[in-house]
């Protein structure tokens, strides 16, 4: 179930803005596999401390890369089939897609902005 894309509860509107939409299996299909251009997907889980450390960096990276590529997240604790389909062995794992096809991945990069931006853009750079 996708909680982020649904209509927010009015009491929670003041909560911190999330620059990274969450995807479920259906929206993954429409927004990633049928999507155009460079797309990065973070496979994560809220209970993973490394993903927690990555979060502020990723929000910053999402803002920086907004014009160049789309960034989404998939919660592997809920979307077990997607995690299995993409052979996710741990979190955080970034899988990069170009026009719906996987072109690269990064597992557990250092949580600093430069490293994460490099990890998210490198697979696309080599195809330009």
């Amino acid at each position: 179930m996708n909680h982020r894309l649904s209509e927010p509860d009015p009491r929670t509107r003041h909560a911190a803005r999330d620059a990274i939409p969450s995807l479920d299996a259906a929206s993954f299909d429409t927004r990633v596999l049928k999507g155009q251009g460079p797309i990065a997907v973070e496979f994560m889980s809220y209970s993973c401390a490394h993903c927690g450390a990555m979060e502020p960096v990723l929000q910053q990276a999402a803002e920086t890369l907004r014009a160049r590529e789309a960034l989404f997240r998939v919660n592997v604790a809920i979307e077990l089939d997607l995690a299995s389909d993409y052979a996710i062995e741990g979190t955080p794992t970034f899988v990069m897609f170009l026009d719906g096809r996987e072109v690269g991945r990064a597992e557990g990069p250092d949580p600093d902005t430069a490293t994460v931006i490099e990890a998210l853009t490198a697979p696309f750079e080599s195809r330009r």
Partner: protein, 190 residues
């Protein structure tokens, strides 16, 4: 540490709600212990112990100020009056409300020159326990604090020496799924 939230919030009953990390073996044990110790004479629980889960919106329905990342980082106790106790303060409040532990809770209120020394010790104890959780096999707890790393390595070495089956080595900033989401039963279809 408590945050005044003003009016009482929907979803909160008269019982405080303790949120714990269900992926962490140490936290699960603690939650079990709280369930056991926080029963009154007729067997009713004085604290509602709940796993944090994976739904940020469900948490915000409990309290709009809750951020799921922060809730996973430290214990949160949601009080019926709308305040939130965090970390060592949450532990003290849990003990205060546990009929089996009431004998020791006056200590945490003792003040000496505006300082609460026993609450301070409890806060330090909380931080130490939180930092050493990887020793007890919590793979989702992240990289151990610098001071705790030698102890974590020692614990791993001892486990290897004792013939415990070691997990394959993973990168330092990567949580293998075997200890978190992948082992969780699939949620029922809506």
């Amino acid at each position: 540490m408590s945050a005044a939230l003003g009016a009482r919030l929907p979803g909160r009953g008269a019982t405080p709600i303790l949120l714990y990390d269900d992926e962490c073996a140490v936290c699960r044990r603690m939650a079990q212990w709280v369930r056991w110790v926080a029963r009154d004479r007729v067997g009713l629980s004085t604290i509602d112990v709940r796993a944090i889960g994976e739904d940020p919106e469900a948490l915000r329905r409990l309290d709009p100020s809750l951020d799921i990342w922060k809730v996973y980082a430290k214990s949160h106790l949601l009080m019926p009056d709308g305040t939130i106790r965090i970390a060592g303060e949450a532990v003290a409040e849990v003990l205060r409300r546990s009929p089996g532990m009431a004998w020791c809770t006056w200590l945490f209120s003792v003040r000496i020159f505006r300082v609460r020394p026993f609450q301070g010790l409890l806060d330090i104890g909380y931080v130490i326990l939180s930092d050493v959780r990887p020793i007890f096999g919590c793979k989702s707890c992240g990289a151990p604090a610098l001071w705790a790393r030698p102890f974590v390595w020692l614990a791993k070495a001892l486990r290897r020496r004792d013939g415990a089956k070691g997990r394959p080595a993973h990168r330092a900033k990567f949580t293998p799924l075997g200890t978190s989401a992948a082992t969780r039963p699939k949620p029922p279809a809506p």
